[in-house]
Structure formats: structure tokens, C-alpha cells
Point group: C2
Chain length 308, copies 2
């Protein structure tokens, strides 16, 4: 099935305890699309400026990503983010955010993008996300990401947008903040009551948990000796997740498929954080993905208790 | 096989957003022993004062725990801890610590306790833990718990003690603090280089991870709608873990058994936090434990990818 992602395309400046990059390709739609591209055809919708050149397009096209709906704004500059991570990589400081062309972004989807079977609304202002959702009435599965900023500044709109999707991706702090519930299980129940059939709670280095009417599934993050740059981990996760689902027939998307999607998401996120930006994913192979999938399966298997 | 635990026996005053208790039975050795008692015979070593009466002994004996080595200090008072948890139960404030008889504790093990096949050194000063370890030269498997206080104030002694055990239980922040490594995988490698064959990293509400020479295993915490009192969760985990191992023959303790031990540990911890202190575990049944074990197995199972 076809997959469209709407979100940011960016240049990132990132400093971590393990090095830094002054300017590299980033943005939620980019990380998502590259990860999803290992499983299915992806179309990216988002704005860029004059500074977005052939080299950047080539990273996406090199992985087969369709860039027809990347909107080039004449005279504009591409979204720019500068941040720094502490030794504890869970703690991140934003030093600079220049919205540039992203500040005026009004998503206009081509017919091809609107016709997608699966849609991912990466983390942007929830009114915009809902506008996109409304342009795609025939989507079979719509996923949504958001963040604390929108819970604080646009809660009502966000709740409405959540009600218009099938699958919510959010990190655990955000899920608690949104629902004011102390446990993830209660929080997920509240979110499911808002509309989505499935809630995926991202837990950073701890892994991820999935809640739906068939129950609970969780898996740890793939253990790495070194995490170099966590930027884009959540979007890579969502890209692996929805990319895998898009590779199935609609009738095959059952609870078991969602568990496999969680595992592929986790695998893609683990590769993403091994190097800066999209450096690792750019030269990733499907075989490496399958190897790590098999590893994760082995790492989480529990035997039954032998009869005594 | 037989199992001895050396640690604190306490009265706790605990306040959480969901209620409070002024004075209830607690302490690391108590939580550990009650959990382990579902699988094997346990002996508790630790000091109590005149305020520790028949009712408290009866909680332990009612679960078949051997209390012969509980040392009653005439004229003394039992260790007392008073603490409060925030809405985010990961954040705990200690309001009062009265060491009382625990301040003068010099563990003297009876021959029966020394003869244990498995030994758990609950979180006490590392010199004392090492003294106990040296009194039990024939132990087949020794486990150790510790905390940030001893990393800060008695690091050298703690590292020596870690070198004298087979299995270390510690939470993820502590493991990072001890090794100054940013990833758990690197931290675990450093700890294994100190001596233990196995490192179990407790991750609170996220679950737990195990590292040994055969690799990595992790599982999520059992999802609960309500967590009432997290006090003793780590010790209940260790009790379920080592209690299960003690129920096996020595030759059966392989990597698969350690995974099952992780799962039992997780199950016992999940029951422990459902109510205050030992209230839930006191009326727990083995059948409830097995049901939740089976649940956790189902909740973490990942299918292989169907051939397409």
C-alpha cells in the first residue's frame, strides 16, 4: 500500500558528548521517509527553501522516496534547528529554532499524495495536521505524532486531531501530560476513548509499548554500545512501523502485525541513533534490518516454565 | 536449594498520592523473603528491636519464612523509614531515617544460614555485605543489591564487594553512576569485568534488563492500572528472581532459567506495588503468580515475519 508523510524537512546543527555537526539533513518527514523506504513507496510533503539542493534531494531519491510534493519556496530558507544533548542523552537543549519557510507552511497535497493508503502526520501544529487529515478522506490508516508544546498551547485542537486518526505515537511523559493519568495503562485507555484504536508509547532508551483493544505489547530498545545522536529516533521508529504495515495487505494488519511493526520501528530507531543525522540509515540494508529484527526476537523470548 | 537473605527489617511510614500508612512492616529483607517464599525455603538475617512483635513475626512465618536468625536487640528499636512519593512515583523524598538497631548491626550468621546454596545481600553498607559473603564460602550463587549512597561514599569497598558476587542487581541510574558509562550495555560490560557473571538492571516502571556472557534479555514491567506504593519493588523483584532459581537444581540454572527468573521477579514486583507495603503479597497465591507469568509471556511475544 502507498504511504504519505507530512512534516518538517530541516537542516539540523547537533552537538552531543560524542561529536557535532554544523548542518545536516534532518526533520521529522525526512527521518520517517528514509526508514519507511525500506518497506514501501513513500511520498514526502513539506516545504524547503533555496538552500535545499540536489545533494539533499538525492539522499531521499537515492532511497526511492518520492519528492514530487516537496514544496520549494522561492527566496525562502529551510527550517533550521540547533540543539545539544547532555551526557544523559535523554536531556536535550534547544539553542536555536528558525522556522523559515515552515512558519508559513500550508500543506497542499497532490492527488497522488491524497490517494495514499497510509498517512503519517509528523509533529506539526495540530490544526495543520487536521487539515491534512481532511484532505485524505480515503486513507485506511492514519498515524499521528505530537509533542508537549502542543499539549500546552493547543490542547483542544490536539484532542480533536487525535480523534481523527487511528494510531497515536507519543512519548510517555507526553501521554501522562495529555491525560493527567499516572499509569500508562490508564493514559492509553483515555486516549483510546478519544478515538484512536492503537496507542504507541515511545519510551526512549527503554523501548516502546503498544496498547489496543487486544491488549498490551512492549519491547525494549535494541541495546547499543554507543548512542551517538538521538535526533530523529522517534520518527525513524514511526517510519519503520508504518512502512512495514504499508508493505502488507490491508487484511493482514492485525494485532500480530502491529507487534511486528513495533519491532521494525525499534530496529530502525536503533540504526538511526548509531550515527549523526541520517548517516547510518543512508547506507543501511534490508538484510541488516532483518538480522536485528531476529536479534530482538531472541532477546525478548521467554520460555514457559518446565513442568517439574 | 536453600536461600538466605541479609538486609534490613523495618517499619515504614509511606505517603503516596493514593494514600498513606503510618507504620507498616517493611525493609529489604522482608520484601525479598516474602517474594522468595513462593518458590523455596528462605532464612532472614537482620536485627529488630523490642517494638518488633508477634504480629510481625507472624507475617513472615505465615509464608513459611525461617526467622531463627532475626536478631532481637534488647532495649533497641527497629529501623524506621519515612518517605513520600510524588505523583510521578519515580520521585521519592525521604523525610526521616532512624537506623536504631540497624546502626550497630554486625551480621552473625548461624550455621544453617551460612550453609545456604543461594545468598542475597540486600542493600546495606558494602563492608558488611562483604563480611557476610566471607561467612558463606560454599554459596553457589550470591546476589547483591546496592544504591547511589554507597557509590558516593564507599565506592572502593562496593567495587570489592561486587567482585565477590555472581549477580548484581542495580537500577539504571546507579549502574551509570558506578561505571560512568553512557549506555547500559557498556556499563554492564564494565561490571562483568569487576567479577559478576550476570548484571540485572532494574528500570522501575519500564521493566528490567539482564546482561551476561550469553547476551541480553529485557522485559517490560507488568502494566498496571494503579501503582499504589512502589516501596520494596526492587527487593520483591530480587526475591522472585532468586527464589525461583533456588527452586531449581544447580545444573538447571542456565541462561533460559535466568530469563524465567527475570519474569518471576517482574511478576512479584508488580504485585508488591499494587498495595501498601506487604499487604498484597501477604495474600498472594502461586496460581496468581503463574497467571501473570503467562500474561507477561504473551505480552512480549514477537512473531517471526511471514514469508511473502
Amino acid at each position: 500500500m502507498s504511504l504519505t508523510v507530512v512534516g518538517s524537512i530541516a537542516f539540523d546543527a547537533v552537538k552531543t558528548p560524542f561529536g557535532e555537526r554544523e548542518r545536516m539533513l534532518g526533520g521529522s518527514a525526512v527521518h520517517f521517509a528514509l526508514s519507511a523506504s525500506f518497506f514501501t513507496d513513500v511520498r514526502v510533503v513539506g516545504p524547503v527553501g533555496d538552500d535545499f539542493g540536489e545533494a539533499e534531494y538525492e539522499v531521499l531519491r537515492g532511497r526511492g522516496v518520492n519528492t514530487d510534493d516537496i514544496e520549494h519556496v522561492e527566496g525562502g530558507k529551510t527550517f533550521f534547528w540547533k540543539g545539544e544533548y547532555e551526557w544523559n542523552l535523554n536531556i536535550r537543549h534547544t539553542h536555536d529554532t528558525q522556522l523559515n519557510v515552515f512558519g508559513e507552511f500550508e500543506p497542499k497535497l497532490s492527488n497522488a499524495s491524497k490517494a495514499a493508503d497510509l498517512l503519517f502526520l509528523a509533529n506539526i501544529q495540530p490544526d495543520l495536521q487536521r487539515q491534512v487529515r481532511e484532505q485524505c478522506p480515503n486513507v485506511r490508516l492514519a498515524g499521528l505524532d505530537s509533542m508537549n508544546l502542543w499539549i500546552e498551547t493547543a490542547r483542544e485542537s490536539l484532542v480533536k486531531t487525535i480523534g481523527a486518526v487511528d494510531l497515536l505515537f507519543m512519548n510517555d511523559d507526553e501521554v501522562r501530560m495529555l491525560t493527567e493519568q499516572p499509569t500508562l495503562l490508564k493514559a492509553a485507555q483515555d486516549i483510546i476513548a478519544m478515538g484512536p484504536r492503537t496507542v504507541v508509547v515511545k519510551q526512549g532508551e527503554y523501548g516502546a509499548a503498544l496498547f489496543d483493544e487486544e491488549g498490551f505489547f512492549a519491547l525494549p530498545a535494541y541495546p547499543l554500545e554507543a548512542v551517538i545522536d538521538p535526533t530523529g529516533a522517534g520518527d525513524s521508529f514511526a517510519g519503520g512501523f508504518l512502512g512495514y504495515l504499508a508493505s502488507l495487505d490491508e487484511g493482514e494488519i492485525d494485532h500480530g502485525a502491529l507487534r511486528r511493526a513495533m519491532t521494525y520501528g525499534s530496529v530502525l530507531a536503533s540504526f538511526n541513533v548509531e550515527e549523526f543525522g541520517v548517516e547510518r540509515v543512508q547506507r543501511l540494508t534490508r538484510e541488516e534490518i532483518e538480522d536485528r529484527y531476529a536479534d530482538l526476537r531472541r532477546m525478548t523470548a521467554i520460555e514457559g516454565v518446565p513442568a517439574r
